[in-house]
């Protein structure tokens, strides 16, 4: 069976160069970077190099601005809760985009529940873009932090961070940018972005899992969430995950070196996939911006009408193709992706959602196989779908291409189940 991996926004394979660089740090170079003997000093030097490699990837002012954590989620927690803790005296209000990652949203909810904070979620438009002026309007005299992602983890929208940072700088408020979905696939310069905090996750660009990065400008104070020794300049206690940090550094260096080629390659595949899907599948909609300057180069988020996403994912998997989905059936909470709700997507379309994210090793042949396979999957699931049948019988209408023949699938579903799905 063919094997096509189209879930690079979930994780990527470790780069062989990174693996090789990590290897000695498991066995011979096993010392703790805090130790003062040669075992420790050797490892300390390796961590220092990794810190420089990460700092270069995002053009940080200094390698000292780089904090290694356990992953993107911990970085977001540290950026928000650590910043809130250190700056509580100045205010207790946070502004965020409605489409932030759960690690951001839930960190802020925690502060609201347990530390008397309040927050304002700024809505996005139909393709997930935030209006900088809406950020300005949401800022109060109690606001200490604005949190907006660089690229949306779900629908690939690139946000106008520079415009937003003009406002936060003017107001003297710090800006945290979750760049997990961007790093390695999109140039990042923290100095020109104008943010004080930025998180990234190396396993999204061929680095290892178990390591994350928080960039913190000297202008922004954060308090450690994990208490113990003075590792990471007192901002993250605990012996460092050295092999992962070493691998992260190499992955960052290669990502920067190859970024132009990687972007060109996946952009070409993204265009091919987009054209193939749009021309071959009826009643399909792209969520987020069309491929181009407003969208990250490596992902496409689809809604296919009259069929559900988990079924699509399962059938893809049976054909050796790995994709993701934001359907309610895939989530443990039985709720559709909050990002799809935030862009105002029809509920049935949100349920028919799948996400494809590309990587450097995907090929044109793979893309053609995916499109070909998808036409079969769609036919198969539509044959099983009572809603497709009712659409054929003109009892319900399409949301994507309405013909004016009556209620939509979502309206019909609500009348069948007695109430609208959440």
């Amino acid at each position: 069976m063919k094997s096509v991996y189209l879930d690079h926004q979930a994780s990527t394979p470790l780069l062989p160069e990174a693996f090789e660089a990590m290897r000695p740090y498991f066995t011979e170079a096993f010392g703790s970077p805090s130790s003062l003997h040669r075992f420790g000093l050797r490892v300390r030097d390796g961590v220092k190099t990794a810190r420089e490699q990460i700092a270069t990837l995002i053009n940080a002012e200094s390698p000292d601005d780089i904090i290694f954590t356990s992953g993107g989620t911990e970085s977001a927690n540290l950026a928000i809760k650590g910043f809130a803790d250190a700056n509580e005296r100045k205010g207790n209000h946070i502004v965020l985009a409605a489409t932030e990652h759960p690690s951001v949203i839930n960190s802020i909810e925690y502060l609201e529940k347990h530390h008397g904070f309040t927050s304002t979620k700024v809505p996005v438009n139909a393709i997930g873009q935030i209006d900088p002026e809406a950020i300005r309007a949401a800022i109060t005299d109690k606001t200490i932090l604005v949190s907006v992602h660089l690229v949306n983890h779900d629908i690939g929208t690139i946000e106008p961070i520079k415009e937003i940072s003009k406002i936060t700088q003017e107001k003297g408020i710090s800006l945290f940018v979750d760049a997990v979905a961007a790093a390695g696939w999109h140039p990042i310069d923290v100095q020109s972005l104008g943010c004080q905090l930025l998180s990234l996750s190396p396993h999204r660009f061929y680095g290892p899992k178990g390591v994350g990065v928080l960039y913190r400008s000297r202008k922004a104070r954060v308090t450690s969430l994990i208490h113990g020794g003075v590792q990471e300049n007192g901002r993250r206690a605990g012996t460092e995950n050295v092999p992962a940090i070493i691998g992260a550094g190499v992955a960052a260096e290669v990502a920067l070196r190859d970024m132009g080629d990687r972007i060109a390659h996946v952009s070409r595949l993204q265009k091919r996939l987009y054209d193939g899907m749009m021309s071959r599948i009826k009643f399909i909609k792209l969520n987020g911006p069309v491929p181009g300057p407003d969208r990250i180069c490596n992902s496409l988020n689809w809604s296919t009408e009259f069929i559900e996403g988990e079924g699509q994912l399962l059938l893809f998997d049976l054909h050796g193709i790995a994709v993701a989905s934001g359907s309610s059936c895939v989530s443990k909470s039985l709720k559709v992706s909050h990002v799809l709700s935030a862009i105002g997507l029809d509920h049935a379309l949100a349920q028919g959602n799948i996400i494809m994210s590309l990587g450097k090793d995907n090929t044109e042949e793979e893309i053609d196989y995916v499109v070909e396979t998808f036409t079969k999957i769609v036919d198969r699931l539509r044959t099983m779908s009572p809603m497709w049948q009712e659409f054929q019988e003109q009892k319900i209408d399409s949301v994507i291409s309405p013909t004016g023949i009556g209620q939509s699938f979502t309206e019909r579903a609500a009348s069948v189940s007695g109430k609208p799905a959440h």
Partner: protein, 134 residues
């Protein structure tokens, strides 16, 4: 992956009913049709029944939903063939879950949907019959 083990989201029985659904489709001359939706997730299930001498002669389903919703409707339509209307009225989703060899906790509601669709089809049949009897 070089791994020999097959990794699937559901157990073999559920996967089999998802990949090779039994009784998928419609009965053009159905005696009772039940269509229900799950407000929790938005899934839709439709079951059509052919009933003769108080017994289920044939059943078909159509489902908009996940793998376990499709498998649940496939299994439910298999289980009920030959059963009496009274038996169907006492039909429980647990029977579908057991016959499928278990469902993940978050997917139990898919089997409830199958039970509801089945009972709605019987209700529809009885309503139609009452109208004919008048």
């Amino acid at each position: 992956m070089s791994d020999q083990k097959e990794y699937t989201l559901y157990n073999d029985t559920v996967m089999d009913h998802f990949m090779n659904p039994r009784n998928m489709g419609d009965l053009p001359e159905a005696d009772g049709v039940g269509e229900v939706g799950a407000a929790a997730c938005g899934d839709i299930m439709k079951i059509s029944l052919k009933i003769r001498d108080g017994k289920i002669e044939d059943a078909r389903f159509k489902t908009f939903g996940c793998g376990s919703a499709i498998a649940s409707s496939s299994m439910a339509t298999e289980l009920i063939k030959g059963r009496t209307i009274d038996e169907i009225k006492n039909f429980s989703n647990q029977e579908v879950v057991d016959a499928l060899g278990g469902l993940p906790p978050v997917k139990i509601h898919c089997s409830v949907l199958a039970e509801e669709a089945l009972k709605a089809a019987i209700e529809d049949y009885e309503k139609k019959n009452a109208a004919v009897a008048k």
